[in-house]
Symmetry: C7
Subunit: 257 residues, 7 copies
């Protein structure tokens, strides 16, 4: 109980250090990320894949309004996990930065450059008073000069580059699955397959085409694209993770905040 009382002392006000050097508000923001449904990113030889669990709590909700994967620029997709309204702020920020880059330098923004502009923005909310940290993690996927790149941003404002990564719920299980099955030389289709298999691994009832989102950026076209609902159904069936109709009707996940 003492540990608990002590902990309370450090998380009331603005973001400050605890005696063991941790920033509690940032760590609690990480919990907000874990409360969000999972998003996955996979870098393959010929492009990058984003996939996200976007089941909604009601059949009356428009699946398209569950925002998990966004196009930040022609060549960049962003997937999120955590506090949805915070994610929207960061994605708006990302789009503005991408536009400014085109206007100022006449060229598409680099994936690493964009990521670091976002993480610098996030960091400010962890050091200067008067605001709380962002309760969201992002996966930033794109192609830069013919090379696929995949970055993660976390609530502390640290950028990480990954070959394959998962954010949000079930992070540990999905990471294990990715570490076991990922191969750097897999092609984009194999990447999409691995992503939906990983999502299927933590959804026992299987996945429905409206309950997940998938996007890719191809090294050839350098264009963000998303499969149609029919193509998604085929992919899910092909990888044996397509939910039966009954299972889909029963799904009742917690609504994300």
């Amino acid at each position: 109980m003492q540990g608990q009382a002590q902990q309370q002392a450090y998380d009331r006000g603005i973001t400050i250090f605890s005696p063991d050097g941790r920033l509690y508000q940032v760590e609690y923001a990480r919990e907000a990320v874990k409360r969000g449904t999972a998003s996955i990113g996979i870098r393959t030889a010929d492009g990058v894949v984003l996939a996200a669990d976007k089941r909604s709590g009601s059949p009356l909700m428009e699946p398209s309004s569950v925002e998990k994967i966004h196009k930040a620029d022609d060549h960049i997709g962003v997937a999120s996990a955590g506090h949805v309204a915070d994610a929207r702020q960061l994605i708006d920020f990302a789009r503005r930065q991408a536009q400014v880059n085109r206007l100022r330098y006449g060229e598409a923004i680099g994936i690493e450059t964009l990521t670091k502009e976002i993480t610098d923005h996030i960091q400010q909310y962890t050091q200067v008073g008067g605001a709380r940290p962002f309760g969201v993690a992002l996966l930033i996927a794109g192609v830069e000069k013919g090379t696929p790149r995949l970055y993660e941003t976390d609530p502390s404002g640290t950028p990480y580059e990954w070959k394959a990564v998962s954010i949000g719920a079930d992070r540990a299980e999905i990471r294990d699955y990715l570490e076991e099955h990922y191969r750097e030389d897999m092609d984009l289709d194999a990447g999409v397959g691995l992503a939906v298999e990983a999502l299927g691994e933590v959804n026992e009832e299987g996945l429905s085409p409206t309950g997940i989102g998938v996007a890719t950026v191809d090294v050839e076209t350098e264009e963000f694209s998303q499969p149609s609902e029919e193509e998604l159904a085929d992919i899910l069936a092909e990888h044996d993770v397509l939910a039966s109709e009954d299972a889909a009707a029963d799904e009742e996940p917690e609504e994300e905040e």
Copy 2:
């Protein structure tokens, strides 16, 4: 009791994260929404319907002054549930955004565009210090390029798109009723009927024409319109939810804050 004490630690100051990654002030604002009387939105094949429980606590109050449904632009209606004064602020904000859009681009604002401008505004009040979140949810209903759209905003600043949805008191019961009876191909009159039946379901004594509000936006006209008191009485009678005079006189709901 410990859980309670722990919780108290996180909800005193500005909006900050709790150890499990939740924003208590936002969740309490959601409770303010639940304290408001119900509002319902239904998207049909040929338009969108808004309906709201607007009973007042006294026969001396002007029913028209219980503000639950507002016209935000020619083609957009907004229903609210929760803190009334907060709703007024957001609706003023919505009207200004709609006007600015007409002035700047010479055309009517899109329903999704307006919704996201509102949710971005709401989100700011959950992250930056010096103010509390908005204690209100909105239903934003309109027609955009011939297509009916129906959105919800919540106190976190998340936008959701719905086929049919309820905010405020009795949300769970009304949602069950809507899920059971909603059909995507119903026409506008059927939508109005479903809305008043759903409201009737949670008002045992029935509804009075002055105790509810109804509005529609038709795909043909793209115009916000509200039935007259007589038309409303006919609709209620037709759907068997018209209160007897005695019941209406007895109704004594809690005044909304």
Copy 3:
């Protein structure tokens, strides 16, 4: 005791939500309203009536300095209940808005327009930090294009339109009396009569001409006017609520804050 401790947690700082979605500072401001002496508004077929209990705690105080009814513009009267100094701020605000409207549009401000400008102003003090809510309710009475209008503003910033209404002390008893005796087709004199009778109902010793205030706005003249002390005495006598001299001398109400 636990409930008490819990409650304390939410009312210390700025206006924030409690776990059940209430704004305590706003509710406490409503208590400040109840601590004020009563004001009554009655809308009749040919005008609006304001009446107020303005007994002072001492025979040495100038009755005219107990401010309960104010002229906001030629065609608008305002009665208040609650924190007197706060009321003065809002009435100054109302007067400035009315003047600005005349200067800008060359016409008298609408009663609903003025009411909503005041409630928007009040709402800001409940959401943005650095100030407390206004501890006062207002009745705004006037004639707009030949139609009598009567509005109430409360400390949350919600506007209500009424046929007849009471704010301040004894609100429940006076409301019961009004609901029982109010008729929409009564004329202005009957309205004044109902108002003083309602005040008399909660003042066992009767009323004195200097202990109450009365004002009317007539649909004909559209002018705010107040009866003389003699006229008031006649009205009180006519409605059988005139205090005997002895009773008046004994009255010793609490001074309003």
Copy 4:
């Protein structure tokens, strides 16, 4: 003890409402007024009187430096009770307002106008954060267009007009005395007499010419004037409240803050 603990919860920060709708910081400021020595105002048929208890704690202090009565303009006197340094701020404010009025409109400021400018100023310190309320009450006495006026301001920023009034220590006893002996048709000399008698009533050892302050504004001259020490001694003797030398030497009141 519980009541005490509860009370503590509301008086720590800025001026906020308690659950029963009171502003504790304002009420505590009223206690600061009561800690000050008494000041009295009396309005007579031909002028206004101010009188104040200004005994000092030491024979070595210059009696003239105990500031209780101030000239705010040629035709206006102000007496104070409470926190002396706060009184000085308000009196400087009053003097500036009076000067501005002369410059802007070429005429002397009205007594009611000045009072309300002061109370508006005081009210701001009770609603907006970052400062405490003024711990002082003022009596503002003057002649306006041939009519004597007497106002009180309190720490909440409420203006009151009086025929005769007392602020500061022993308010209740002095008020009783005034209510019993005041007559509206008394002349200025009788008013001065009543004032010193009332002060004498609560000072058993009697009053000394240096231990009180007296000022009048005459309807004829419309000029603020103060009797000389000799005149004061005569007045005190005439009204039988002149202290014997020994008593004066023994007086040892608490120093005012």
Copy 5:
């Protein structure tokens, strides 16, 4: 213990009122004054005297650097007691005000005028948030149009005029001594004598010329002047308060903050 707990509640934040109408931060600042060594002011028929106990804690400290008496303008001296660094701020403020007066009006600033400018400045620090009160009292002594004047300022910002006064440690004892021995018709030399005798009264080991400071402003010259160390030794000897060398060596007062 309860009283203590209650008291703690009011002295944590900015300067606010306690339930009995006191400003604790101001009262604690008065304690800071009492912790300082004593300063004395005496007004005589032909000038004003300032004297101060300025013993240092070490023989290695330059006596001249123990700042107790300052020249604020040619005709004004200031002695302080309390927080030394705060005193320096106020004396700088006083010097600037005196200079501004000479520049603006071409004449020396009045003693009362200067005192009230200082107390107004001090008062601001007791009412507006974001700073603490000044922990120092000043004696302001000068000659104005041939008349000697002596003022005290305290941490609340109240000005007092005195014939003879003491601030800082042993205030009560020194005041008793002054009340007993002061005569208004004493000349400047007698005033200096009384001052050093009063200081001697509370310093059993006697005074050393370097351990005290003395200054006078003469009505003839209207000039601030300080006796030399030799002259001071003669004065101390003459009044029988000169310490023996041994005593001086033993003196070990607390360092002032």
Copy 6:
């Protein structure tokens, strides 16, 4: 337990002193440094060496995205330990300062100059409210007019110059190793060797070329350079600290915050 309670009192708000004169928030920021993996700096006769432990928690993470060593200018390298997002802010600051120096003075910035500009920046975050201290330490290594320089900055904003130094995890052990083996006359290759040996000393399983970072600034070229992965492997093998493949696969350090 008392000590603990007392400590809690000082670390809640902004950076303030504890009774024993310590700045807890700064000390807790030092704990954040210790939570980071180690970085080492070594100054040799012909250049400066930086080396850092940059193992990641997952084989799927891009080793290059674990940022421990940065080029601040052509002739300056910076290694960090602690909060990664904070380090990025300081390195951006350092780069801007270096650029400004080139623009303003047309020459490369001095190592000491840059270090002190950084520490002044850090200090501000420990004294002025509204932000927390930086949770990171830096090693700043470069060549200035032919002389190698090596500085450390800590969270208090103190600059230290070192011959050889370690920050982050295992500081004490690495320091002992460096003190034992460092010689001022060692050449750059020997410096690199000592650095990797010291890192190997606290990594029992050995080091992998992707799990560490190494950089040098040579006195000849005055250029920041980093060995290739192959060169690093050779260096690790040469110094007998190259991990076997199995060991590398097992490494699972804590992720840095």
Copy 7:
């Protein structure tokens, strides 16, 4: 324990007074000074001496980077004790003031003038909110118009002038030693000797030339100068306080914050 609890109440927020009139944050800043290693100042007939204990915690640290003695202007040296990063801020402030004086008046700044500008700056941090006090004391030594001057500044912002003084660790012991051995007529060399002897008195293992700093300002040259390491070794040997090599190697003082 009660005393302790009471004390905690006053040191949490900004710098405020405790019930006994003390400024705890200032007193805790004084503790930060005591945690620093000692600095000594000695004023002699022909100049001023500064000496400082600047042992570092590691043989690998560059002794020159332990900043204890600084040149503020050609004719002024400053020694510090306490929080090193704070000292740097004040010394930068001092240098800027000295430069501004040369630019504005074309002459070197006076020692007393500079000291008081610094203490005024320090005082602001103890009275105005939003920052903590400086945790450092300075000795300011220089020659002004041929006269040697030696000042101390403390965290309250009080200036003291000394013949000989010590700040930081072991202040009491060193002061005793200085009081016993100081003579006003000693020459600069004797002053340096006394300073190193005093430092040796509290360092049982003796002093090393790199473990102390010494500086002088000569009345002839009016130039700040520091002996070479060889000269220092000679001085230490001459005064019998030179540490043996072994002792020096063993020294392991606490690192200063």
